[in-house]
Symmetry: C2
């Protein structure tokens, strides 16, 4: 049998047919074109599902379940309670998919949680049952898997490690709190930190790099560091300390087998991962334990969310 | 059938016979008298177990399992890997109890985790399957229960929410990190904060209160607040903000059904709980969710750890 995984994003709707070995066999895609009504968006969701089935050469009766990852919070009835960037409030996603695709088991979950499931089962987790995925992107997303199950809490809003405070009364976060990990460890935060350092260091090579690129990006400080720029080195070092701080908090709380790091910043590879592991190693509470949480890079990229959504039906 | 719960503490060893309704039927107790060899301490553990059985009027064959809570980290083989205040390193606790009490199922867990289990099953949790217990004492202890199971992680060192950083590069913590929640929200931290405020405010009524009590305690600032002392009010308000910060971090990560707060500071009752709930309510990420984590006071006091240890055998 096969399943369908859907990634409902603020920019695109993507659906894939996935087999039991977590391989993608065919994919459909269309722009989300927000703001639109939920009805229009769900019509397109059904359309890309059919496109994926056509490309994979399978029929509706070959599909055992449909799973969808969405931004925002989803309750246990499959209702999207709130998704800011889709303009959704109390959208009965599960029912709306069933209305369009027929009476098939449908599962809805938060997109970061789907990505965590995908990496845990089919990516760097290699089936790990105690796993946390962290995405360093525009924000800091995360998903927690404990004994093989997603930890979403009593209201399906759990797993938001990006919105734990690491610096009380610190930088403003998009969530309304001050000092959240996201406000220090996201790519957005790194860009803000880079701009601040550039202002303080008019001679830094970061100015030239940004001019060549046409903008300040999450790479600017890393590129400057590779050229030996002191200000760039400091930005990168501080940024990695911020990332490490949140990772150690997760470790001390959950001691997962693996924490997987994804998002654009991870393209820095060992430049990021080597010092990050060193900071985590030095400061964790479990320093006396023989077994330690492994920190790994995400492997599946954007496919993680789709594969994770497709798995939702098989993990109960 | 009955089970035995043991609380191995730095000061006392206590064991109780517990029935299937989580009621304590008989208790034995003796001082721990550290530093002593593990053999001597485990001889006394067996002795207090027999004392508890005598008092409860039950025999060894009526006991289905023995559970023990201990400070420090315990691995899945029932070995205490490291417990600083007992002077233990790699002590095979499970085997040492079996050697003394016979071939009976024995379970060993961290003491804060046992206390969490006790409150979840027999105390304020009333059977809650998604539950976090936080103890505001000398340190900040915590235990996490997810879908009815203790979350101890890959190395049994998990659940240490007290050692998550809320203020990077902040106050030194006993664990070696800087800025841990414990360094701001423990009774020890409150006393430090009270002393600092007293030094800055020579006219504060806190000086008189401390003189009458013979020391600065976790109550000093609360008592001053009740007398309208501005410096005392500020100490209490800041302290409650620190406690709230860590609680919100737990909520945003796990969204448990209940967080239970225990420890001496809770004797302040509503003076603590009412503003604490207000701060948590205002700042949590799940503000749009209909279901919210409940914050409750612990009910079982010191019995929580013993009852939780006694339950270890029945939760698999």
């Amino acid at each position: 049998m096969y399943s369908i995984g859907i990634d409902l994003g603020g920019t695109n709707i993507v659906a894939s047919v996935v087999n039991e070995e977590y391989k993608i066999l065919g994919t459909g895609k269309t722009p989300t074109n927000t703001p639109r009504s939920a009805d229009e968006i769900f019509d397109d969701i059904a359309k890309v599902c059919r496109e994926a089935m056509d490309k994979a050469g399978v029929k509706m009766e070959d599909i055992s379940s449909v799973g969808m990852g969405t931004p925002g919070t989803v309750n246990s009835d499959g209702v999207i309670e709130f998704a800011n960037n889709l303009g959704f409030a109390n959208v009965p996603a599960k029912e709306m998919i069933k209305e369009r695709l027929g009476d098939i088991p449908v599962f809805i979950a938060n997109d970061a949680n789907c990505a965590a499931l995908g990496e845990a089962y089919a990516g760097c987790g290699n089936g790990s049952k105690n796993f946390v995925a962290v995405t360093l992107g525009t924000g800091v997303g995360s998903g927690i898997i404990c004994e093989g199950q997603l930890v979403t809490g009593v209201n399906a809003a759990g797993g938001e490690c990006g919105h734990t405070v690491i610096m009380m009364d610190g930088e403003e976060c998009s969530c309304g709190r001050k000092g959240c990990w996201e406000a220090y460890a996201s790519a957005t935060a790194l860009i803000r930190q880079t701009k601040a350092a550039m202002q303080e260091n008019p001679d830094s090579v970061m100015h030239e790099i940004a001019e060549q690129e046409g903008k300040v990006s999450g790479r600017t400080a890393f590129d400057a560091m590779r050229k030996g720029d002191i200000a760039g080195i400091k930005v990168v070092d501080n940024y990695i300390k911020y990332v490490a701080c949140g990772l150690i908090n997760i470790i001390n709380t959950l001691q997962p087998e693996i924490i997987c790091i994804g998002g654009g910043i991870c393209n820095e590879g060992d430049t990021l991962m080597t010092p990050l592991k060193r900071y985590v190693q030095a400061d964790r509470y479990s320093i006396h334990s023989k077994i330690q949480t492994k920190i790994m890079r995400a492997e599946l990229g954007n496919d993680a969310g789709i594969i994770g959504a497709a798995i939702l039906g098989s993990i109960g």
